[in-house]
Amino acid sequence: MSTGGVGTAFGEALSLILAFDHQVLDIALLSLRVSGLAVAIGLLIGLPAGACLAVGRFRGKQTLAVIANGFMGLPSVVVGVVVYLLLSRSGPLGDFGLLYTPSAMVIAQIVLVVPLMAAISRQVVEDAWRQYAEEFNAMRFTWSQSVRTLLHDCRYSLFVAVLAGLGRAMSEVGAVMIVGGNIDRSTRVMTTSIALETSKGDLPLAIALGLVLIAMILLLNGLAFVVRNWAMRRYS
């Protein structure tokens, strides 16, 4: 492909967006729904888990923190294969028939984003904890009270954990390809479409879709930025 290909791709991306190509729109919406849901569920697990790691005093805490940090870069294709084997009809959760459905993709992405969000949450909360530890001890806060108070106090800083999770979920292809199957109008998301168009050798269209995906992620980040600023002004 020559440099002209990239130019064509930009043109094609623009026309895809401007034309509201309904197929691309459906695919983009599914990407948003799957990754949005994975992040929503993931943050309910990851943020408290990270805070507990920061505040708690128990054996193996350091080890768990290292594991969470290490798993920020969990290979998505490995997660895909493991979730595939769990959800396969011949696997332990096969009776639910979830393989090759969007739910399977959500599950795989939850596994991907939880360690990432837990690791960031642990770091953010630990920094705050160092500041407040004496105060909380003086107030005889229980362990769970500390976790809740810290999570609440750090909520604006924890936005970055949510955004990191969203970025990771929306941009990964390894896991959703395996557990979703890239089925047309069913489990085809932005990243698997890009992989498919690349396979077909339609590189300009692949890049065009990639630009649409990047634009979506940027837009979401912009939106999050605005909401965060608005909330900060309103509530603090």
């Binding site: 309910l44 396969s88 459905t101 199957g181 890239n182 089925i183 396979s199 050798g201």
Partner: protein
């Protein structure tokens, strides 16, 4: 405030998970090959089938070896694949209930237009493979246990060449499309089905250099995953599809798929 948001989040998450899980009433999962999907055939014939029967066919496109594995685990209701020997074994081992002929197309050897191994003048397909090996010219193999990979291995065997480990022989371990992308980038030869090639856009300097030997015949079969082994298989719906695709109507739909005026698949009816 935080609690309110949390509750709403949990509720919304639960609701959307339910909404995502809701599947169409009548649908089957078909494990098939990248060649049928990427050539655009399914995009053409499946809407015709759905219009007639209301059954949605969800296609997972893999290599034939992988598709058979998916069937073995019971993760598909039916298969449409192209590796006769492995298909027959699949049915014989009890993983498939039966196999039916559907259609065929042919393999072609593509390579750089300069044709450094001079396979244009080959006597037959085996000779073309031999010339590539003798000249030590770059060849990209699928290397993924797909139907195309099996066919390629049969040709090497027939001319007594063991290419694995040779410097000119590159195993991509990838689908047909990525393999063609590699061959295009390296100026190498590769074996491809005509359908994927016809729909492939990043050809760069590649062209069809050898085709036409009857040995390059590439038949596709439909298999019902054995409901006795996997009771959740949607037998009635899957059989409706298999019967349709092997009927006169299905044959007409297959034959009517053309790309650039060229018919890509020929029904075996």
């Amino acid at each position: 405030m935080a609690n309110g948001i949390l509750k709403r989040l949990v509720a919304a998450a639960a609701l959307s998970l339910v909404a995502l899980g809701a599947a169409a009433a009548d649908s089957i999962t078909l494990a098939s090959t990248t060649s049928t999907e990427q050539s655009g055939l399914f995009g053409h014939i499946l809407p015709i089938f759905q219009k007639k029967t209301g059954i949605e066919v969800k296609v997972v496109a893999l290599g034939t070896g992988q598709a058979l594995d998916v069937g073995r685990r019971g993760d598909a209701d039916a298969l449409l694949v192209h590796d006769r020997a492995k298909e027959d074994a699949f049915v014989a081992e009890g993983y498939g209930a039966y196999r039916k002929n559907v259609m065929y197309n042919d393999f072609v050897i593509v390579g750089p237009t300069e044709d450094p191994a001079d396979i244009k003048t080959a006597k037959d397909a085996g000779d073309a493979f031999k010339k590539i090996a003798d000249g030590g010219k770059a060849f990209v193999s699928r290397g993924d246990r797909s139907g195309t990979h099996s066919a390629e291995q049969r040709f090497w065997k027939a001319v007594d060449v063991n290419p694995v480990g040779q410097t000119w022989y590159k195993e991509a371990g990838a689908g047909m499309g990525p393999t063609l992308n590699m061959a295009a980038g390296m100026g190498a030869y590769t074996l491809t089905d005509r359908g994927t090639w016809a729909n492939f856009k990043n050809r760069q300097g590649l062209a069809i250099l050898y085709s036409g030997d009857p040995k390059l015949f590439n038949p596709y079969g439909a298999i019902l995953v054995n409901p006795e082994r996997h009771p959740h298989v949607k037998k009635a719906l899957a059989e409706t599809f298999i019967n349709w695709i092997t009927s006169d109507e299905g044959a007409a739909a297959i034959a009517s798929y053309k790309l650039g005026g060229e018919q890509l698949f020929f029904p075996m009816k």
